[in-house]
Amino acid sequence: MLKASARKFFDDKFPTSTLHTLVAGDHRPERDNTCHWDSALWREMVDLGWTMLAVPESAGGVGMPAVAVAGLAEELGRAAFPCPLLGTINATWVLNACGAGAEKALGEIVAGQSATLAITNQAGSWSPGDTDVSCEQGKLSGTAWYVQDARKAQRLLVSARTASGLGLYWVAADAPGVVIDADTIVDLTRDQAHVSFDGVAAQELTSNGLAALAQAMPAIWTVLAADMVGAAEWQLQTTVEYVGTRQQFDRPLGFFQAVKHPLVNVMLQIDQAKSLVYNAACAIDCEPDKALQFAHMAKASASETAALASGRSVQCHGGIGFTWECYVHLYFKRQKHSQMLWGDAAWHRARLADIVIGPLARTGT
């Protein structure tokens, strides 16, 4: 099974000590924002076919159901491996929703090209369609913000305003006129950038970008939620191990209910979020009309889980948990980043309420 082999892959090749050595070499808050990652190991993942899992067989891909992809994402989050896997999978979900215009781009994914979404504006709106990029006569201008793993991805999937609405475009990350400005971010396991386009010639994937994004968003939220659930499980297990060995008052910390019960609460949260993730993934595969509401539930629950697990992981480690040398900060930061990414918990609940209670008039975005 894919999930089990992914677990073994990361356990064998990328223990947390390796992650720490790779990304946490420079602790200074004003550190330079060099992109640290293991591109050779990433190449192995590409060769295993993981980046084309969600590409349909008809387009030369593996055509795995969303539940299998979620299983892989869970293991990716558990390892916190820095790479453009989620970006590539996200781009695939969107490409799958674009129709005939995306065949060539899907072919590039099958050929091993990585990708990421450039569909967010400077205000950080998570509503699909809010973009600061426009397209005139086939040329992109403007800046896309909060582009995940931009310096690791080879292709950009860009949303841009057009005369008739919103179009989606496929651009090589190293195309002339594309400038990638790296952001300095808290999360050491990702990189992020704002990407400027100065009259960049782009291949149109669809002229109805809103419809394609609407179709893809539930899967995008679900795999991120899966990543967060995996990371939260790492946080839980690592903290449980620590409080099982650390002695105070002549007992292991985990003996005390003030420590035991909060960790149980973390487990309860993880399990609900995990069940909601696989429920959403099942719906994406089998009940598309339920996918949107179930994906909102999954991401909202995963965001709450990430917050709780992160807080308890640092707190229960005590003083050592507050230091750079202890690994928990790597996941603490990754989870904080993931919590906000593609909509925080309250954002998703507001949209869920629109579906299950009925729409509420909302101004602005």
Partner: protein, 411 residues
């Protein structure tokens, strides 16, 4: 997780169709009396009679005890009780009155009694003709259950029982009690033994049942006093001194984590019955006004209702995921969460409902203006029964922390 975990085996599919057909024409008419939220609050003979006749007809039709062998009055099927439960829920039937019998006594008797005793007790338990109650807690043995002091002294092949049990739901209607008591005062755990005891026939002859009144004003649970009650040694389950292990079978099933699926009907909606769900909460928010608009249009109220809904769906999806081994890292991890989550989620939902109802949340059962007939207040107060009974939420967190996470034991 694929959709195959929802798919039935051929036996289950055939049985499901049978259940649907039977329920289509045999779902009982609505009762003429108000039914309490659950069987634990049955107060009157009228309520009991209505529910007993429903359980009997469901048993006669094969919808109760489906997975138990035929020799003990069961259906001899494999993994079919879940199917019957799902169909009874979908058909919005009443619940079963013999809740302690079905959920706790039956699996305990099945796993620990001699064959002759099983064959005698279980058919009338399944049919609901014999109501059962549970004699575990005592004034000095709550969360520390192993501290029970009710004592049985040996007298030939008889035992003479003295002691005091509390929080004994349904004892006022019960024929039988499952009874955890002490046969040896020198060992805390290994001094416990487990009996089934006929209590109705002994009323006034060694057994006294007195009602305890709940914070809701309802009766439904009791205290039971044993004063030199003589019982036969053949009513002992398993070996002498094995009471704690037998009690674990009971508790595991009570918490929904046992091997055998509990027969469960219910979902009946009538003027007297009410479910503490975010769906009902949403309906309440549509009709409760705040600042001149429905509460359902207040973004903060909406957010909190969604939090409850997400928890409810999360709990039900836990139960679905529990059937997919590839998505489980520990076999008992999800099962042991059921009772804790279900009780706390419904408590929070009821608490939120009272806030949403606003001023009208002050109105109780019997007030003609009370929203949902005052049921939210009833549900909120009764929810504390659920977070306390069967091991408090605090004890549940100890169990999860110790058995699943492997943290150091508190005792």
């Amino acid at each position: 997780m694929s959709d195959s975990d929802r798919r039935d085996s051929p036996e289950q599919a055939e049985f499901r169709e049978y259940c649907q057909t039977w329920l289509a024409s045999n779902r009982p008419p609505d009762p003429t009396c108000r039914l309490p939220l659950s069987a634990l609050e049955i107060m009157t003979e009228e309520q009991l009679g209505y529910l007993q006749s429903w359980q009997k007809s469901a048993y006669d039709a094969g919808l109760v005890g489906c997975d138990y062998p035929e020799a003990v009055g069961g259906g001899g099927r494999k993994d079919c009780q879940r199917v019957a439960n799902e169909e009874m829920l979908a058909a919005r039937t009443p619940y079963f009155p013999n809740i302690i019998g079905l959920g706790m006594a039956a699996p305990t008797v099945f796993y620990h009694a001699q064959d002759a005793l099983k064959e005698r007790l279980l058919p009338r338990l399944f049919s609901g003709e014999d109501i059962w109650c549970q004699g575990f807690s005592e004034p000095g043995a709550g969360s520390d259950l192993a501290n029970v002091q009710t004592f049985a002294e040996r007298k030939g092949d008889k035992w003479v029982i003295n002691g005091h049990k509390v929080w004994t739901s349904l004892a006022h209607f019960a024929e039988w009690m499952i009874l955890l008591l002490r046969t040896d005062k020198s060992h805390k755990y290994d001094g416990l033994s487990y009996f089934v005891v006929p209590i109705r026939s002994a009323l006034g002859k060694g057994v006294t049942v007195r009602p305890l009144i709940k914070i809701t004003g309802e009766t439904g649970f009791n205290e039971v006093i044993f004063d030199n009650l003589e019982v036969d040694d053949s009513y002992r389950l398993d070996e002498l001194g094995k009471g704690w292990q037998v009690a674990m079978t009971t508790l595991l099933h009570e918490r929904g984590a046992g091997e055998l699926q509990t027969p469960r009907a219910g979902g009946l909606k009538n003027k007297g019955s009410h479910a503490t769900t975010s769906y009902n909460l949403t309906e309440l928010a549509r009709t409760s006004m705040r600042d001149g608009r429905p509460a359902a249009e207040d973004p903060l109220v909406r957010d909190r209702i969604m939090q409850q809904m997400i928890c409810e769906v999360g709990l039900s999806q836990n139960q679905r995921r529990a059937r997919v081994p590839a998505l489980l890292d520990h076999p008992m991890r999800l099962q042991l969460q059921n009772k804790l989550l279900a009780s706390e989620i419904s408590q929070d939902t009821a608490a939120l409902a009272l806030e949403v109802a606003g001023a009208s949340a002050s109105l109780y059962l019997g007030d003609p203006h009370a929203p949902a007939g005052g049921q939210w207040n009833l549900a909120y107060m009764n929810s504390y029964g659920m977070t306390i009974a069967a091991g408090t939420s605090e004890v549940q967190r100890n169990i999860l922390g110790e058995r699943v996470l492997g943290l150091a034991k508190s005792k």
